[in-house]
Symmetry: C2
Subunit: 156 residues, 2 copies
């Protein structure tokens, strides 16, 4: 750990000690395992985790172009094309021409998507609550406090 003493006053960029390394390890490992399980314990049979994620992003932003969605979800444009097409086929998003730029399109969620998200949230809670029964209150509180940070991290 020789570099720690060489960078004494990084105001908040200096997350690099051993506790941080352990956290990084746990984080990466947990993220991989959870993502694998999420694919299976999916709450809505017909929707993949990515489709759910895109729908969530859309719900927050109101509407967006495919390119914006791809950037927000950190995927490549062709992948987003496919996701949007799937969601449209399921009646969960609407595609309209962009008012100012005829190359672009505007994607927005349908009423059906909104209802589905509500229902889905209920089911998700049931699953997660079951999983969370293995956590005590203190652990759950830590997780809840970190959730928005994790989300921010994923968007950085």
């Amino acid at each position: 750990m020789s570099y720690a003493k060489d960078m004494p006053d990084l105001s908040h960029g200096g997350h690099g000690d051993e506790a941080d390394a352990a956290a990084v390890n746990a984080l990466r490992s947990a993220v991989m395992r959870l993502s694998r399980r999420l694919k299976h314990q999916r709450v809505d049979e017909s929707l993949s985790p990515t489709e759910m994620s895109v729908l969530g992003t859309l719900a927050r932003s109101g509407s967006a172009t495919p390119g914006e969605l791809a950037r927000k979800e950190h995927m490549q444009p062709p992948s987003m094309t496919r996701i949007v097409a799937l969601l449209e086929a399921k009646g969960l998003v609407r595609l309209e021409p962009h008012p100012d730029d005829r190359r672009q399109k505007v994607v927005s969620q349908t009423e059906q998507a909104e209802a589905m998200l509500d229902e889905s949230r209920r089911k998700r809670n049931a699953w997660l609550a079951t999983l969370a029964e293995g956590l005590d209150d203190e652990e759950w509180a830590k997780l809840r406090a970190a959730a928005p940070v994790l989300e921010k991290l994923a968007h950085l």
Copy 2:
């Protein structure tokens, strides 16, 4: 939220209010996005996130049979067969016959794997530290506190 008043004294199984729902949402969304990015920002070019995860598990447990590894990683045995074969081809694990049961095998990490994990931790810190520069100290502290909990959750 009608059920809250119907289940007044669940000691710690009652994670189900709106703040929890928001946390669940953020958690799922962040996990999916991060896992996708982890596949690309991988620190060691030749190792997939899953291979890294298995190696990490192996480092903690010392050695294990393929079946045990599959259960711990929440994957199916055939998938683990493939991962173990890849790791063996890279000289990172060793396969030995099980002393008591000739159906089973014992997987253990090599010295090379140990060295690789050390090197990898350094690189990972660099990547995460870069990402974490967008977090303030308080956010990072929350994340660090939650990391072991996330790991526990992923194993439940």
